[in-house]
């Protein structure tokens, strides 16, 4: 791997190459965008030897990013399927729960994320136009908007924790509301199973059937909902606090928004690194692959929120 001799280059290339003697394996910092390769021709400094051209390298990296994004879509897709199934089973639960989510803050956060998507798209345009100053500004703007999103999310979460809105069995139901565990205690989930193990009518009477338990839960959800809507100032108001199934919705809510929030945090870190590197002049119209790929990631985070917001907050 002998380094090509810069002295054989034409004057233009020699000037571009500067004092860097690493051939095109160098990282090409500080404006070294073109280096002389083994073939004696000029190559972009970031072109790796197994690619024919910077164009091919760029497209390959982008396709790789898209394949990663496919797995991201399927990751969130699985959670959306869980949402869809539970919504089809308990539509009233989702109606009641959406009342507990603050539509105004949710809408605000949607606009914030849309704005950050715009700023990232514009940042890529700035990189393509070799406008480094604008690129750096827009990347920092994106980080700032993502930070605003997380701050709003933080206040939403803490507000819910104060009201006792926790996922699953930790959800604090209003006093007197039976939990699912109490309602389903001793239920014969398989109708014939109890008969087979303990024959006779007495075990049948002692073990409530699945239908009876369903009826009891429906009664608990409906009855308490009505009585509680009337009395105010006693504990938490709102029908969701007397629905024994409230924990189901908030399990889905916390997992989906939590993993989305994790993606936002990862995005903040990635875009901050981009911004610092852009300040150092690493990106230009010749090489801006990381900006493009992180931008794609950020748009997917935005698209997921576009679906999460109406499904959770509105309906």
């Amino acid at each position: 791997m002998a380094s090509p001799a810069p002295t054989t280059a034409d004057p233009n290339a020699h000037e571009a190459h500067g004092h860097d003697g690493d051939g095109h394996h160098g990282d090409g910092h500080h404006g070294d965008v073109m280096l002389r390769g083994h073939d004696g021709q000029l190559h972009p400094a970031n072109l790796q030897h197994h690619f024919i051209s910077a164009e091919q390298q760029f497209e390959s990296a982008k396709l790789g990013m898209w394949l990663f994004l496919v797995t991201e879509i399927l990751l969130f897709g699985g959670m959306f399927v869980a949402y869809a199934i539970y919504r089809s089973w308990y539509p009233d639960l989702f109606d009641q729960a959406s009342l507990e989510l603050d539509t105004a803050w949710g809408a605000f956060n949607t606009l914030v994320l849309l704005g950050s998507s715009l700023s990232v798209a514009w940042a890529i345009r700035a990189a393509q136009m070799d406008n480094r100053k604008l690129l750096v500004r827009l990347l920092w703007l994106t980080v700032m908007l993502a930070g605003v999103f997380m701050v709003v999310k933080y206040f939403e979460y803490t507000h819910k924790f104060e009201k006792g809105i926790f996922p699953g069995q930790y959800f604090k139901l209003a006093e007197g509301t039976p939990t699912i565990a109490e309602l389903t205690a001793g239920t014969a989930v398989l109708p014939g199973f109890a008969d087979a193990t303990a024959e006779g009518a007495e075990s049948e009477a002692a073990t409530p059937s699945l239908e009876e338990t369903e009826a009891a839960i429906a009664e608990a959800a409906g009855e308490h909902g009505e009585t509680h809507a009337g009395e105010k100032g006693h504990g938490e108001k709102g029908p969701i606090f007397s629905n024994p199934r409230a924990g189901i919705f908030f399990s889905i809510y916390y997992v989906m928004t939590g993993i989305h929030g994790l993606h936002v945090i990862i995005g903040i870190i990635a875009i901050s690194i981009l911004a610092v590197k852009a300040q150092r002049g690493r990106y230009s119209s010749v090489y801006y692959t990381p900006v493009e790929n992180v931008g794609l990631y950020w748009h997917v985070v935005d698209i997921i929120w576009i679906f999460l917001f109406p499904l959770m907050y509105l309906i």
Partner: protein, 194 residues
């Protein structure tokens, strides 16, 4: 200098990248903001009427409407911000493929979970339930057996009064033997000849 060089070099093919127009960016963000406002307004309207007037203005269509608006928004983000409109090719295939498989995932899971009670009740009685019914029927038959035994089902006709009756019965037995076979005839003949 370097830029001048790359402009003519085939290896630095970045010149072919689509640079999104400012007009496209502003148009896309306007559409996205408008659609966000639309979905929020529709959601609040539905909630207002549901709480105050107990009217469901969208009813079962609220989820499809919300999903439709969100999908249009996602389309604009993917087509313009993500550049799929100008990329096409493999990237679009990967993205569209993920959506297709997501729809398969969702619809097949729903076909299972969405209709569980419906079809179980109508088409499939559990095996243990069938066995229970059989046992009940057998016990019932056993319980009723004494009352059946107490009443003779057929009184033998008085052959002195009705001489034709025995020949008629023989004729019936003959008819039965023709269909039932030899063994059945032998068993049947024994009580009637006494």
């Amino acid at each position: 200098m370097a830029h001048a060089a790359h402009g003519h070099d085939e290896h630095a093919g970045h010149g072919g990248h689509h640079v999104i127009a400012k007009r496209d960016l502003t148009r896309t963000i306007s559409i996205l903001v408008f659609l966000t406002a639309l979905t929020v307004v529709l959601g609040l309207l539905e909630r207002y009427f549901a709480v105050n007037h107990e009217i469901e203005i969208f009813g079962p269509f609220s989820v499809p409407i919300a999903l439709l608006i969100a999908s249009v928004k996602a389309y604009f983000v993917a087509a313009y911000f993500m550049g799929l409109k100008h990329d096409g090719g493999t990237n679009l295939l990967a993205f569209a493929g993920s959506v297709v498989f997501l729809v398969i995932f969702l619809s097949f899971t729903y076909l299972d979970t969405g209709f569980r009670d419906t079809f179980e009740e109508r088409s499939a009685v559990p095996v243990d339930e069938l066995q229970r019914q059989d046992l009940e029927a057998a016990a019932e038959t056993e319980r009723l057996q004494p009352s059946f035994d107490a009443v003779p089902l057929v009184n033998d006709p008085d052959t002195g009064l009705f001489p034709a009756a025995s020949t008629a019965e023989d004729a019936m037995d003959d008819a039965a033997s023709a269909t039932d076979g030899q063994e059945a005839t032998a068993a049947d003949d024994t009580p009637t000849e006494n």
